[in-house]
Symmetry: C2
Subunit: 236 residues, 2 copies
DNA sequence: GAGTTAAGGTCAATGGTGTTGGCATAAGGC
DNA sequence: GCCTTATGCCAACACCATTGACCTTAACTC
């Protein structure tokens, strides 16, 4: 009966596994993250995680109520890492650009976990702290509350949306990913100019661009638009 | 040997399955979409799809080179539906806004499918047509090629990224979704003003906003930024 | 129409997955 | 040192995608 999961704080007996390792929630989450990073998207499975820890796979169900609980724990760890060590400069545009890139980057560092967690509202302390920070930057910059909330919403969701999208691309199997990436050189670059004049005219530029993330550009455009809204408000 | 997949156009012999259905790529994709809508994202498997079609699961490998190929075909269908019946007005900003909303809407109509496919580059005809259309709008509007490609990339990926994010929220189980949605009224609205002044000050606005999609706002901001770039180019 | 070819269906098997119930053993409280 | 039970292990279950071998029959040729 692996139904009852004992919360980490209440854990008393720590019996080493057959191979000698002593398990803990921390150790499991960290090992899972390492496996994801090292062995790619297909790298994480309960069985593999078990053997990596030197434990029977079913043992993990004493720590998490299933694969879902494990991924949530991983996601929580990711959010925490996103803002570690950030400090404000006082310039709202600089600060938001940096924060956006950090969020995006933290998720991309663990694509498989990002795909699963980027869309969820956890309501946990570190997520709340991030929201408070972004809202504070906007309100301090002079955005009136309704405008601040609009921009905040667009900023946060855009960051998470691109994180999930770009993470999804990284999380594909090796073959799927290179197949997707080659499309811009193979299929698109060879389309007939009569039928697809615009693609044909920009084929070089497309091939050079489309395999990167569009997030930096989209982020700068969002910030530029916000800046001109702010200016309009102050002028009027 | 199920390695060779015959392209749909070259298909000559159509032998009915044991249960009498005559297969085709169209039929398979449509059945897959229906299964995704009805049974959720975990509801689609080769086996289930096979039985739903009255065919042996392995038969599907005569039509697609695996689950991946099927996913791409579904994505192609979705993007195709987005553009069905659209006509240009000639005003680039109006046209792009409408296209963006159509893409976003088409994916949200099939959230589970959108989650699977929004990140993929299919390189199939209808996707190519969509790309050609958007690029054409930008180049015709007067964006020089490098700028047109940048804006195109940001526009397309932003639309797909938000489609995937918003679809992900819709694709959650009922309980997870309402739990996520309630966060803004329960957790966030009750935070102490001393520790979270900005969230507390805007709690009402947040609760009203955060459960909608931020895509329309983000789209308008992107278009506004593009417009001012275009203006700057013509002025300089 | 008869003969030939191979497309496109089926069957059976492989090696993977998450998950669970039962068992045994040792950790920690007494 | 005893007793309880938490916790690790084992075996099994029900799925999954994918593949190779087989066989049926549609469609093409003469």
């Amino acid at each position: 009966m692996a139904k009852q999961v004992v919360p980490e704080e209440a854990r008393r007996r720590r019996r080493p596994t057959r191979q000698g390792t002593v398990l803990s929630e921390r150790l499991i989450v960290e090992t899972a993250l390492r496996m994801l990073r090292e062995h790619g998207s297909a790298g994480l499975s309960v069985r593999r995680l078990g053997t990596a820890l030197g434990a029977d796979p079913s043992t993990l169900y004493r720590y998490f109520d299933g694969m879902d609980g494990l991924t949530l724990a991983i996601g929580e760890e990711l959010i925490g890492r996103a803002l570690d060590g950030w400090t404000a400069t006082g310039d709202w545009r600089t600060d938001l650009r940096e924060l956006g890139r950090r969020i995006h980057g933290a998720y991309l560092a663990h694509p498989q976990a990002a795909v699963l967690t980027a869309g969820r509202v956890t309501g946990r302390p570190r997520e709340i702290a991030a929201d408070e920070t972004v809202l504070g930057i906007l309100r301090t910059a002079g955005f009136p509350d309704p405008e601040a909330v609009l921009v905040f919403h667009a900023f946060i969701d855009q960051s998470l949306a691109f994180a999930a999208l770009d993470a999804g691309a990284l999380a594909l199997t090796e073959t799927s990913r290179t197949s997707d990436e080659r499309q811009w050189e193979s299929t698109y670059a060879r389309l007939p100019a009569e039928k697809y004049p615009h693609i044909a005219a920009t084929a070089q530029l497309l091939a050079a661009r489309m395999n990167q993330s569009a997030y930096p550009v989209a982020l700068d455009m969002l910030l530029a638009s916000a800046a001109s809204r702010l200016q309009a408000l102050h002028a009027g």
